[in-house]
């Protein structure tokens, strides 16, 4: 209560101030703040050169200063645009909101950098006058930004010739890849954090301008082109890394995790079954892959071609999925979550005990299966680096490409199932199970299908995973990993492919970048989950229907308001 009271009081204060300051003055002040911020990036901010980016040099923006420079530059362009005749075309709703967001970005980056200099170099005494000047400029910018006139939500409804729109799609995806590679290349967490803040600010500003929704509209208009281009851009990733294996290795793991998460999204997002033991299916697939890999530690001598292994892995996980699903799917909701959690642990414990002393020797128990050889598939040795298009790629690129193919398959399964009679039935079950059954749907069979299908896809990912990580143990498939998968799906957005992808990338890549926080990883995940559930329960990239399910009250309120407005007319 008191929190919202303070917010309204603040808002009232801002509104009163806005009423007193004419728009032109506010705009001039904001422009001044932006220009000063821009200029401040050419100053030295720190006396010590040890701070990441070396901010001791005059006339040369380095480290996080670059982000301030870019944000301020964009803000200047937008402010000039607002008074130019182009305004009606490019910023129909006004650019005030966007500038405000950019100002906040500038301020956050500047303040964080100044503070970090103080903390890391032993006291604020290490901040040179340029740093304080930058902070002051950013403060002017923020305050002036608050005084800018409110803009209306902008709607871009431009329809350009197809080839121009194709170019835009290619450009946006190319930029996304460039930003991604750029982000990976940043070694220091401080600068990486500033990058994230700046990126978030730029994206929010673009969204305020109406650019984001327009681009996503263009993307939906040319769905096939967008999806193909997205895969091409993803396939271009290894070419940005050359023969360096580090990030390729990480991205292979991200890819396997993401593929599994999309498979889980069929179970959780489409059929609405909360499965907390899903990682067990990845484990089954991985053990099938490892046992049939011809590894020295494998208890099975047979080493079939990989294509056969994938099929065997898929079939076995499907059978396991049906075996686990048949008893568990008789319960619903929370009970289902608990029972699947139990079955997930049963898998791990069983594998631990199939070691020859407490059970038959199949899996080497807790020792797992080490030394899984690299794949040889389609005549390609996955352990060697290859030259593609005249470029020597690290050997993890092989796994990356294979993983990409599997992911494409899983996405195809996801979207085709979703848009079929079966997807409709799953949705109906999610909406009202009793009514769905009364409408003639064999709910148990449909749920079992979702469960087994999800299991099969995870199993296929597992067979690749065994080779890619070359050593597997039962502990890689414990409950925590299932929880991470569910978290990725829930954070990113239930029922969407892009949501599961985003969730996986965030959950796996950020800890790589913030090694600093490694010990507090779980705490930070927990806090993030709580925040997302509080402010955006449908996930970051939401399925339209899910959104409706989570915002029933607001939507009906909105409808009521519309109806009243219509009645008044």
């Amino acid at each position: 209560m008191s929190g919202s009271g303070v917010t309204t009081a603040r808002r009232r204060l801002i509104e009163r101030a806005r009423g007193r300051v004419p728009a032109t003055t506010a705009r001039a002040a904001a422009l001044l703040g932006a220009v000063l911020s821009l200029a401040s990036t050419f100053l030295a901010w720190s006396y010590g050169s040890a701070f990441p980016g070396n901010l001791t040099i005059y006339g040369y923006p380095g480290g996080a200063q670059v982000y301030v420079l870019v944000l301020a530059l964009v803000a200047i362009v937008l402010l000039l645009l607002e008074v130019s005749p182009l305004r009606r075309v490019l910023a129909p709703g006004g650019a005030g909101g966007a500038v405000r967001v950019l100002a906040s970005g500038v301020f956050l980056v500047t303040a964080f950098t100044v503070l970090a200099i103080g903390v890391e170099l032993g006291g604020l005494i290490n901040v040179e006058w340029g740093g304080w000047a930058a902070l002051l400029a950013a403060a002017v910018f923020v305050v002036a930004g608050r005084l800018l006139p409110d803009d209306r939500p902008a709607v871009w409804s431009y329809r350009l010739p197809d080839w121009v729109e194709f170019l835009i799609i290619a450009l946006v995806l190319g930029l996304a890849l460039a930003a991604f590679v750029e982000a990976l290349a940043i070694p220091e967490w401080e600068i990486f954090l500033c990058f994230l803040v700046a990126l978030g600010g730029a994206l929010t500003a673009a969204w305020r301008l109406g650019l984001v929704s327009w681009i996503s509209e263009v993307g939906t208009r040319h769905r096939g082109v967008t999806v193909t281009a997205a895969f091409l851009v993803a396939a271009a990733f290894p070419f940005t890394q050359g023969s360096d294996n580090h990030w390729l290795n990480v991205m292979v793991n991200v890819g396997i995790f993401a593929t599994t998460a999309i498979g889980l999204n069929i179970v959780v997002g489409l059929a609405g079954l909360l499965d907390l033991g899903y990682v067990a299916f990845l484990g089954v697939g991985a053990y099938v892959g490892a046992l049939l890999s011809g590894a020295a530690a494998s208890t099975i001598g047979w080493n079939p071609p990989f294509a056969v292994t994938v099929v065997i892995g898929a079939v076995i996980t499907a059978i396991v999925g049906v075996l686990i699903g048949t008893p568990t799917l008789r319960v619903r909701g929370d009970y289902l979550a608990i029972v699947t959690l139990g079955f997930g642990e049963i898998f791990r414990i069983t594998v631990n005990n199939l070691d020859g002393s407490t059970g038959p020797q199949v899996t080497n128990g807790p020792n797992g299966i080490p030394g899984i050889p690299d794949l040889k598939f389609l005549g390609i040795d996955f352990g060697q680096s290859h030259t593609v298009f005249g470029m020597n790629l690290g050997y993890f690129a092989n796994y990356f490409f294979l993983e990409l193919v599997l992911m494409a398959f899983v996405i195809l399964v996801f979207s085709r199932m979703n848009n079929s009679r079966l997807g409709r039935a799953w949705l109906a079950i999610r909406e009202d199970e009793v009514a769905a059954q009364a409408a003639g749907i064999n709910t148990f069979r449909l749920k079992l299908l979702a469960f087994a299908l999800g299991a099969t896809l995870a199993g296929m990912a597992g067979t690749i995973q065994a080779h890619a990580i070359s050593s597997i143990t039962p502990d890689s498939y414990q409950f925590l990993n299932s929880a991470f998968l569910v978290a990725a799906v829930v954070l990113g957005g239930m029922g969407t492919v892009t949501g599961a992808l985003l969730g996986s990338v965030v959950l796996l890549l950020l800890p790589e970048k913030f090694r600093f926080f490694q010990d507090n990883k779980l705490l930070i995940f927990g806090v993030t989950l709580v925040l997302v559930m509080r402010f955006r329960p449908e996930g970051v990239i939401a399925n339209k229907r899910r959104k409706a399910e989570f915002h029933e009250e607001e939507i009906s309120e909105e409808l009521g308001r519309e109806a009243r407005a219509e009645g008044a007319r």
């Binding site: 085709r416 009679r421 409709r424 109906a428 409408a439 399910e549 409808l559």
Partner: protein, 268 residues
């Protein structure tokens, strides 16, 4: 008309014999016999708590009756709602149960589920069979929406429909499974007189499509002008069954609804 208990003028579609439903010590439905003939509209009335909806649930497999048998066109119905629907008995619910976040036409398509056969593999490959079936489903769903008068709202979310339209959509979804018998649980509850009249016309139209209909309703004017036959359920037992006129004037029915009069004055 000299219809008596168990007497049906037409060939029976549904034959219920001795259905009893007990919940612990409570007998909600007690040995009810009930028959519905081809293209017949039968009303089921009774005071609140008489066991009408429980009886419906026994017919549609939501409950497995403690005793008795339900036979639809010669085959006994098993105790699973989806199998009952597949056999040809569709129903609506007393409190509307649509899929609120699906569009109107999608709601009807879900009703087609048990008459379509495309499996996971076919949905993945999208072969000619898949495309033909999707086309047919779409066409039939649109036709049904046209039939109940919701064609214009086909692509709206079901939740956004006005109350009366939601009821009609639920009927369209039930009709989508090509039933031979339709069970309507209070189809006019909460409707205004105009909507009630429209519903009555709709039920007649459904009968003309060749369906038999059983209606639970509290609106007596609706029941007595709609039905060929009316059965009265009181405390789980069938009190009387006969033509609307017979039931309307039966003292026991009046007593069950209003209570026994203190004096001996009687009203129609």
């Amino acid at each position: 008309m000299t219809a008596t208990v168990g007497d049906t003028p037409h060939k029976p579609v549904l034959r219920v014999s001795g259905v009893t439903m007990r919940f612990g010590g409570l007998t909600a439905v007690d040995g009810v016999d009930f028959t519905v003939g081809e293209q017949e509209i039968v009303g089921l009335i009774g005071p609140n708590g008489a066991g009408k909806t429980t009886f419906f649930n026994c017919l549609t497999g939501m409950y497995v009756p403690t005793a008795g048998q339900v036979i639809y066109r010669g085959t006994p119905l098993s105790g699973r709602p989806d199998l009952v629907t597949k056999a040809g008995v569709a129903r609506t619910f007393q409190n509307i149960r649509l899929f609120p976040n699906m569009t109107v036409v999608e709601n009807v398509k879900v009703g087609r589920h048990c008459r379509t056969t495309v499996g996971a593999l076919s949905a993945l490959v999208r072969g000619p069979k898949y495309r033909r079936e999707e086309r047919e489903t779409e066409a039939q769903a649109r036709e049904l929406l046209d039939f109940v008068g919701l064609a214009d709202a086909a692509d709206d979310l079901a939740r956004n429909l006005p109350y009366g339209d939601q009821r009609r959509l639920e009927i369209a979804r039930a009709l989508a499974s090509d039933p031979g018998l339709l069970l309507l649980d209070e189809p006019t509850a909460g409707m205004n007189p105009l909507e009630t009249a429209q519903t009555k016309d709709l039920v007649f139209k459904i009968r003309d499509r060749g369906l038999a209909v059983v209606v639970i309703e509290h609106d007596m004017r609706f029941i007595f002008t709609l039905c060929d036959r009316v059965a009265v359920l009181v405390q789980g037992r069938k009190l009387i069954e006969g033509s609307p006129a017979q039931v309307q004037h039966d003292e026991r029915v009046i007593a069950a609804y209003i209570g026994t009069p203190a004096g001996s004055e009687q009203q129609a």
